[in-house]
């Protein structure tokens, strides 16, 4: 059981890292600000899922809380930028 789970996850993790690098390309290139915020948003959620998967591979199940914390705070960053743009539009 352990060897099956470890070998499959070892194959899958470099693919995760490759897709994170493609997200980062959009963060760097993004012509406007909402593109960057959107890319950072998706990047943060996927890194949260990556942390949950990695806690199985590291054999330490209590480390899963970090993924939950990262997802909630990335959402807070999103709401900050949205409130900033809307306040600028209303002239405040």
């Amino acid at each position: 059981m352990e060897s099956i789970v470890t070998s499959v996850l070892t194959v899958l993790i470099p693919l995760y890292v490759t897709s994170f690098l493609i997200y980062v390309v959009r963060v760097v290139k993004g012509p406007t600000l909402p593109d960057r915020v959107l890319a950072v948003d998706s990047l943060g959620y996927d890194i949260a899922a990556f942390m949950v998967v990695l806690s199985i591979l590291l054999k330490s199940p209590l480390m899963v809380v970090c993924g939950l914390s990262l997802a909630l705070w990335i959402y807070a960053l999103d709401i900050y930028v949205a409130k900033f743009l809307e306040a600028r539009e209303m002239g405040g």
């Binding site: 059981m1 897709s19 994170f20 493609i22 593109d35 993924g67 997802a71 709401i79 949205a82």
Partner: protein, 122 residues
């Protein structure tokens, strides 16, 4: 036996999550406009984060070499998948509304802008 079935379903869901992650990343890189990239980003958030978390919960329920804390891993992963299913869509909607209202992202190849007409040309 039931452990092996749970682990197989969980690993399949994690692999499906990697596939959706690639789809979201390539769509975010290649699509031409902000409002079309929004579609790719939400597909990447739901398929690339919620589905692997449910898969990780099933794998943790099946893998008995992790000891009793594996039930904590399964519960936390399932709770964060439920939270993420609400939060990613809410955040994307908030940032799209702010980008439209502040004029930060232009609606460029648009044939008809119904929201602009309804708000009176503003």
């Amino acid at each position: 036996m039931i452990d092996l079935i749970l682990v197989a379903i969980g690993l399949t869901l994690i692999a499906v999550g990697v596939f959706y992650d690639f789809i979201g990343a390539i769509g975010l890189l290649r699509l031409p406009n902000f409002f079309t990239r929004l579609h790719a980003a939400t597909a990447g958030a739901i398929g690339g984060a919620v589905v692997p978390m449910i898969g990780a919960a099933l794998v943790a329920l099946g893998a008995d070499y992790l000891g009793p804390p594996r039930f904590f891993l399964a519960g936390a992963a399932f709770a964060s998948s439920i939270l993420l299913m609400i939060l990613s869509q809410a955040g994307s909607h908030a940032i799209a509304r702010a980008a439209y209202l502040s004029g930060e992202a232009r609606v460029e190849p648009a044939l008809h802008d119904a929201l602009k007409e309804r708000e009176g040309g503003g």
